[in-house]
């Protein structure tokens, strides 16, 4: 299918909806491409960071002499050496105007605030020499008490930053009565205490680490007129802005390139101290430099995610009709307020009410500074926490009322006739059909059969008990309407930009301000453009991730690339068609009003005359025969600011087997029916759903960043920070029920985070459901075998213990050798 003339104008020829193999996969899977770490420039130097092993300590002295004289070392620099030139890392979202935030310099000179913080950087001719010399940097610390436990830190027992006088950074509140979107929640709860049901729970969102495949890496070349930074980031455009704001270098003097990037999951949505240090060192020395972190550094010093305590009060009438929901969150920021920082829990503020018709709602969030690694966005960012809380609560309510968890949901959810629906949190949900998705999911899951089996196992007292977990989630994505962001005090807009360049030969270059790091934009966006302009899929090239090429953008996160970036693309393409029409009319000697565009062809109404898009492109290029006053270009751009968020939803059903003897859990079946609107590429969607599910399931069962009493990250390698592989997950039963979004042209909804947001509560609900008859109504995440076993044996109580203990010492090498401790990764001896 190359010539547009060959394209039959039928539904089946449409690119949208085809499961095109991904254009980018050959180079991504074989690795034959340009990542940051394989970019080598003439004369390039290498960096290694010297990191603090202490969570909180005064820096008494830093002796760099021995390191400076080591082989192949060019320089050793501290924060004091770089001075103001090292700049600062910015917080783009002060959630309140009174928010307290410690200044975040990339290399502090007086005090370190978390284990893994950089205090000096070694510059050498090879990465190995830099690392060797880093061990020769002698830092004297005076250890300070560290603020570690979140609740104790919220009570200011130990101060993470003594100068601030408190650990409380900001308090953010939404109240439906004050906002005029609902009633008074305290009254609803009081009433329910008298004549209804009140469910009070406290849930823990454990700390997670975004474990992307490619560790973070940055190359800076200061030798041109613009300083060029290649970096493994999700946000080249935002980063350029932040670099300028944080360093004082004019934005016009900075070019940021995100080459192929190996995953992010929010973990590369940051302006990192390491990027700032690399930038400052390159400028200082006038030479290209590269820094690539080790996996240990990545786990320890890359930003972490989640980490909240959620205190929840739900009120309902006796029959299970919900009347109010009050949320009190305590959120751990870690040592600094990151680029989004406290904005992450705030993104959840509008989602606790989920798909249910709560008449009254209140959300309170206290963000807290501690001496742990700073936290920020991690896949779902705020919405998984909210979804977990409400979906766990709905199961608890069902248990209290004594009905099936699906029944209690149906009683309270928005019905499909009620869309568009304005929620108690003030959002307008545009579309959806919770009933249809649920019906489809139940049938595919075999809900009734599994419930019957569960009953049989319970009655027989089987060693293996079966539990069924429900999660009827929705989320807000497609970040974000700029006005809303403005009202939330966010420091930027939420629009997206796209450009279409029509080349002389009829080929098309697309620029997009979104920045893919594994999602498959090149494929999906090509499909959209192919349909829109009637050109061949193969003829479309997607250019992105370079502030010089795709100069304008807000990058990729929050399931926004398709629903916001895709809409910008559609609008830019439509402008191309509008620009081509007068040229076509001129060449065809027809009136513009008679020109019709369809399937890549400009035809004259009522005739068989016409010209292909490629012919118009050539005519614009030669410009030999254009109508008067018409520009010699079809190229077009569009900047699209979404009018609303985007609300995918779905019904997820999970069956878990629990071995009551060992506490071991095993997934038996997982069915999801998601409504993500129009599907551009089913294969890519399936990949997003599978990966998203795995990540959400992983929070429920496996992942947890654990610190010891002195603030050292115990789960500091993949031996102890457990990630699943395909051996640990099952074949997911993935379906869709489509209601098109009404807020974008293509009718799409975001899918990047849906699986992660939905699955965590489905799994935990299933585990709890399997043992509820044993008196258990909660098991803290991750639901480790030990926690499940303790819950069963201590009648519930043991399932809520915090994880403690040392790492397993598999690589401890104490046999007759003097060990050296790698100070570059902050490991404590």
């Amino acid at each position: 299918m190359t010539a547009v003339e060959d394209r039959p104008d039928t539904e089946s020829a449409k690119e949208i909806g085809r499961d095109r193999r991904r254009k980018e996969d050959q180079r991504l899977i074989t690795g034959r491409t340009r990542w940051t770490d394989n970019i080598a420039l003439p004369g390039m130097l290498h960096l290694a960071m010297v990191r603090s092993p202490f969570a909180h300590a005064r820096i008494v002295s830093i002796d760099t002499e021995a390191a400076k004289t080591a082989d192949n070392v060019v320089a050793v620099l501290t924060g004091a050496d770089l001075g103001d030139a090292q700049g600062v890392c910015i917080n783009a979202w002060a959630i309140t105007t009174e928010q307290l935030a410690p200044t975040h310099v990339p290399m502090p000179t007086d005090r370190v605030a978390f284990a893994g913080e950089t205090v000096a950087v070694v510059v050498a001719r090879s990465a190995a020499a830099a690392r060797d010399a880093a061990e020769l940097v002698d830092v004297e610390y005076d250890e300070l008490p560290a603020a570690l436990d979140l609740k104790k830190s919220a009570a200011d027992e130990v101060l993470a930053h003594p100068d601030l006088g408190t650990n409380k950074s900001a308090f953010w509140k939404f109240d439906s009565e004050e906002a005029g979107t609902g009633g008074n929640v305290d009254q609803a709860i009081e009433k329910a205490r008298g004549d209804g049901i009140v469910i009070e729970r406290e849930y823990r969102q454990q700390r997670l680490i975004p474990a992307f495949m490619e560790p973070r890496s940055t190359v800076v070349d200061p030798t041109g007129e613009q300083i060029t930074m290649w970096t493994a980031t999700q946000i080249p455009h935002v980063l350029r802005f932040a670099l300028a704001a944080g360093s004082g270098v004019p934005e016009s003097k900075i070019r940021v390139i995100a080459p192929d990037v190996g995953g992010g999951f929010g973990g590369k949505l940051q302006q990192t101290p390491e990027e700032m240090i690399t930038f400052a060192v390159a400028r200082r020395l006038g030479k290209p430099v590269r820094y690539t972190e080790t996996r240990s550094e990545s786990l320890m010093a890359g930003h972490h995610g989640r980490d909240q305590w959620q205190k929840l009060t739900l009120s309902a009438e006796k029959d299970g009709t919900v009347t109010g929901l009050k949320v009190e969150l305590t959120a751990d920021l870690g040592a600094y307020v990151a680029i989004l920082g406290g904005g992450v829990p705030v993104l959840g503020a509008f989602m606790f009410n989920a798909i249910y018709k709560f008449p009254a709602y209140q959300f309170n969030c206290q963000t807290v500074l501690t001496n742990k690694t700073w936290t920020d966005a991690y896949r779902g960012a705020g919405r998984p926490e909210a979804t977990y809380a409400i979906e766990r609560l709905m199961d608890e309510l069902a248990a209290e009322v004594g009905v099936d968890p699906l029944v209690i949901r149906e009683k309270n959810w928005i019905t499909h006739e009620e869309f568009p629906f304005t929620t108690v949190a003030g959002l307008e949900y545009d579309s959806g059909n919770y009933e249809a998705a649920t019906e489809k999911a139940k049938a595919s899951f075999g809900y009734d059969e599994l419930r019957a089996e569960q009953r049989r196992r319970r009655e027989a007292g089987d060693r293996i008990q079966l539990g069924i977990g429900v999660s009827t989630f929705t989320e807000m994505c497609g970040l974000a309407p700029s006005r809303v962001l403005g009202s939330l005090n966010y420091g930027a807009g939420g629009w997206e930009h796209a450009g279409v360049r029509m080349l002389a030969t009829g080929k098309v270059e697309i620029t997009t301000g979104t920045s893919a790091h594994g999602q498959g934009h090149e494929t999906a966006f090509s499909q959209i453009v192919a349909d829109r302009l009637g050109v061949a899929f193969e003829d479309v090239e997607i250019l992105h991730g370079d502030t010089q090429i795709a100069h304008k953008g807000m990058d990729t996160y929050g399931s926004r690339s398709l629903v916001v970036g895709g809409e910008a693309l559609v609008r830019a393409a439509d402008k191309v068609i509008e620009k081509a029409k007068p040229i076509a009319a001129h060449l065809l000697e027809a009136s513009v009003d008679d020109i019709e565009f369809s399937a890549g062809r400009f035809g004259v109404r009522g005739t068989d005359q016409g010209l292909a898009m490629a012919e118009i492109a050539m005519a614009a290029f030669t410009a030999h025969n254009l109508p008067d006053g018409v520009e010699a270009t079809l190229d077009s751009e569009a900047t699209y600011d979404p009018v609303n968020f985007n609300y995918p939803h779905g019904t997820h059903l999970c069956a878990m087997e629990v071995d009551t003897e060992t506490g071991g859990v095993l997934m038996r079946k997982y069915t999801c029916v998601d409504d993500i609107g129009t599907i551009i590429n089913p294969m890519i969607v399936e990949g997003q759903v599978h990966g998203g599910l795995a990540q959400g399931i992983s929070q429920a069962l496996w992942e947890e960043a654990v610190y010891d009493d002195s603030g050292t990250l115990v789960s500091g390698s993949f031996v102890d920070y457990l990630l699943p592989t395909t051996a640990d997950t099952i074949s997911f039963d993935v379906h869709h029920n489509t209601t098109a979004s009404t807020t974008n042209t293509l009718g799409t909804k975001g899918v990047g985070e849906a699986g992660t947001i939905a699955s965590t509560p489905a799994v935990v609900n299933a585990v709890v459901d399997a043992v509820r008859h044993l008196g258990i109504h909660d098991i803290q995440m991750p639901c480790t075998p030990e926690r499940v076993w303790r819950a069963i044996h201590d009648a519930g109580a043991g399932g809520r213990a915090e994880t403690e203990g040392a790492a397993a010492p598999h690589f401890d090498e104490s046999t007759g050798m003097q060990g050296t401790v790698d100070r570059t990764d902050g490991a404590q001896s």
Binding site: T662, V719, F811
Partner: protein, 284 residues
């Protein structure tokens, strides 16, 4: 993840390797499959000046029949061991455990000698070696000596191998016709066991005639559950009988507490897993 600089020596014979060891003493480390040593070096938990690679010594590889025992060269990979017909016939327990060890890539590189010499109490091969009463052939400049499994594992990451010696062979007495099972309890598939139990039993006429039970990660070395073994002899291979014997599994153990479980949980697991392992080994 760059190790400190070291000198690399690749001997072609055991003798050459021993000479290199003698020359460099405690500055040197031998490398087998590197699956434990390389992470140690890359995380800079150790920094030997010399690394002596055993990979080029053919005499250290392979499985052979030696009358009442099979002999496995220290450098035989996990993959080879678990697919070897002699192992399957006479020491099935080793193959069962090998199947559960790490993942396919690691099993193709890692070696039986390296795993046993590393002596990680959570390693999957120690308990089976102990249960099968393996003999460890340790070679030094003065010649070879044979150490029984009971004496080979000394402590956490510590064996009877001297600083200037090499583990060269593992001799496993034939357990032909014994049923075998390795019950490994993990949270994710590629993990070291939280606790595992290695069981080999000889069943005659529905009755357990002999039993060998080894425990992984229930102390600073692999352990033998002798009281379970004794209690099993003469018992029918039934759930109740085996459960009674398995209740003794944690006697004399000193399990660790770490991220994956506290000691009391491991104690409980040892009993449950012992029952399951023995029943599976007995084909019940």
């Amino acid at each position: 993840m760059i190790p400190t600089q070291f000198e690399y020596v690749a001997p072609a014979t055991v003798q050459e390797a021993l000479t290199a060891l003698a020359e460099h003493g405690d500055e040197a480390k031998v490398i087998a499959g590197g699956q434990s040593l390389l992470p140690v070096l890359r995380m800079r938990l150790n920094a030997p000046e010399v690394v002596i690679d055993l990979g080029g010594i053919p005499e250290l590889r392979g499985v052979r029949d030696d009358g009442d025992a099979i002999v496995i060269g220290a450098m035989t990979t996990h993959h080879t061991v678990l697919n070897d017909p002699l192992v399957a016939e006479h020491a099935a327990l080793l193959a069962r455990a090998g199947h559960e060890l790490a993942d396919a890539q690691i099993r193709h590189r890692g070696t039986i000698g390296g795993a046993l010499a590393h002596a990680d109490p959570a390693g999957d091969l120690g308990a089976p070696a102990l249960a099968l009463s393996a003999q460890f052939v340790i070679t030094g400049s003065a010649g070879s000596r044979t150490v029984p499994a009971d004496e080979f594992f000394v402590d956490l990451f510590e064996t009877a191998i001297g600083e200037d010696e090499l583990l060269t062979e593992i001799r496993v007495p034939k357990h032909t016709g014994w049923g075998a099972h390795y019950e490994k309890f993990v949270r994710v598939a590629h993990q070291w066991p939280i606790v595992a139990v290695a069981a080999a039993v000889r069943v005659a006429g529905g009755t357990i005639a002999e039993a060998r039970v080894g425990l992984t990660n229930m102390g600073s070395t692999p352990l033998r559950a002798r009281s379970v073994e004794e209690a099993l002899v003469g018992q029918p291979a039934t759930e109740d009988a085996v459960a009674q014997a398995a209740a003794r599994a944690a006697e004399g153990t000193n399990p660790p507490s770490d991220l994956n479980g506290a000691a009391d949980y491991r104690t409980h697991l040892a009993q449950v897993l012992t029952r399951r392992a023995v029943l599976a080994a007995a084909g019940a």
